[in-house]
Amino acid sequence: MTDVVIVGSGPGGVNAAAPLVAAGRRVLLLDYGNEDRRYAGLIPHKPFSEIRRTDPEQHRYFLGERFEGIPFGAVRVGAQLTPPRGHVLAEAAERIPVHAENFAVSMSLARGGLGAAWSAGVFPFSDDELRTMSLSLDDLQPHYDAVAERIGVAGERDDLDPFFPSSPSMMPALDVDTNAEVVLGRYLRRRDELNAAGFFLGRPRVAACTRRYRGRGPHAYLDLCYWADMDRSVYRPQWTLAELQAAPNFTYASRRFVHAFEEDGDRVRVRSTSIDGGTEECHEGRALVIAAGTLGTAWLVLRSLARYDTPVPILCNPYAYVPTLNLGMLGRTPCDRRYSLGQLTAIVRVPGRIIQAQVFSYRSLLTFKLMKELPLAYRESLRLLRLLVPNFAILGIHHEDRPSPDKLCVLRRGERGAPDRLEIQYRPSEEEVRMHVADERLVLRFFRRLRCVPLRTIRPGHGASLHYAGTFPITASERELTCDRDSRLRGTRAVYLADGSIFPWIPPKGLTFNLMANADRVGTRLAELLA
């Protein structure tokens, strides 16, 4: 019999599977498993600018064969989900309907889950942050280290070290682009006064290889990170899945949609539908790990426990982005050799908490998408943007999120044969909104001192960061629909959660690396329990 059934091949699923498989447990991973079969093979292994000047087929992947890469609305959520990443969200909304007003919902049924389009930022939680989650850095550090070793992390020990615990296997940082180099240079010249005021800047830690590592990389600086997984340098959960598939005690069952589980004595039964044949299947294991993404997991858990109309919390880091004019770039020619992901990370320390911002440059997402953001004739917009884009430093500002009675997720029973649907209500308090605005102003004040002049603050709306979390939080108190310290769902014998569901609040840091470390902890613990 299978020891552990895992649902989902995203960052949580594969990182829970890895320690189980290494310990010799028999693991079955059930997955819907959508993949891109159309675009990846079309994209040449050449720099973005060379492709633009030479490849007559570029419209097929830059615009998409159904022109799905031409968005008419404002740039809001998921700008990085280019046509070659479109499969990441495919079919999820039909399979798991979600009704949400003023809350962007992005779910994935792809191989690798949302991790297949992850922006690869590595932001481990600090001990202070973990202690308020009934955990500690002692609990998680071995798993941060194990995951960093597994996925490959590039970074540097710099001023951000106190905010992000390091791992021994860290590779040298990626080279930042000209835009970021200018900002970083100015920061270093004014470092003492900025640090004294609570502002810290450094190179981001990125889940990417800067040298040949586990058959991947090194990063070739082609500026195609939003379009293709060149040399598999940037981490995707699929890379771990491929490693796992080489193990005899691991089985990957793709094209399965899992819709329920139940416990019976010392076993867990998992019910799924075969996507291709439509047949119903039942899989048994001694334990179940659900890593279907926070919203997918909420749907599956509430449905399986028949907890319709029962609200659970929902969290998602509020997010704003601010194009700024980097005056230090004026007259400089940007270097063509670059990567497309976050170039710098900034931390602002305020009493009792932090604010985090990422600095990006804009180029490989194409200029026409920015043209519609300006209220000008397109011809003038194009000419202006050609002049200004190399001087843009775009800030993405993240805020923490905490539960409140107005941030809820409920499962409703589907009527007349329709699938059950989640309903999300997400209304931050006025005080929270005021705090976000004040925090953004504070971040921008610091960037003005680095000669980055803000042009406009864009708040893409609730849910836009895609950092969904907090539905079944780890708590010390024995409340139903919560998890214990092992991430075991209370009221079950052996059902564990290994995605964002378990975080009781979320610091203003990307979740993915943290949920991978917790998934590794879940897998490690289960391997011991099932020995």
């Binding site: 490849d55 615009l63 022109f67 031409i70 940007p334 004739a377 003038e380 002049l387 190399p390």
Partner: protein, 140 residues
């Protein structure tokens, strides 16, 4: 024999291409524009949108003014959507890539050019509001 709708799309493709980059796009890009329209913008346009488009096709000189005005008062209009589609088609082709890739200029030149383009855009939009109002009431 092409359908009337195809002929209109072909004409739009050529006009919008020349408007955006000052050169006539080759037939394969006009065909790509036509295909993108069929997929993305099929269906009946609202009366005023159809009238503005028809006006733009009859009077190509008006396109910069209509576009400038629409950017201010009707950013989601069909005219804007169609010009954006042509911009996307041009940007994703090697022949026109250079017109979309950023270029570095000296700070003084940058300031002067931004000022000039800004002034031109405002003037076009101001006159364009009048042209747009007339176009929206014109025959389809």
């Amino acid at each position: 024999m092409p359908e009337p709708e195809d002929r209109e799309l072909e004409l739009e493709g050529r006009l919008f291409g020349r408007y955006l980059v000052g050169r006539m796009p080759p037939p394969e890009l006009v065909e790509r524009y036509r295909e993108a329209n069929r997929i993305l913008l099929g269906g009946t346009a609202p009366g005023s949108d159809a009238a503005v488009l028809a006006f733009a096709r009859r009077h190509p000189w008006s396109i910069p003014f209509l576009d400038g005005a629409a950017g201010l008062v009707r950013p989601g209009s069909l005219l804007r959507s169609k010009i954006l589609v042509m911009a996307a088609v041009l940007e994703a082709s090697p022949a026109f890539a250079e017109e979309f890739l950023p270029g570095a200029v000296r700070p003084v030149s940058l300031a002067l050019r931004v000022l000039g383009l800004g002034t031109l855009a405002v003037a076009r939009a101001a006159f364009g509001v009048l042209v747009y109002a007339a176009a929206a009431r014109s025959r389809v």
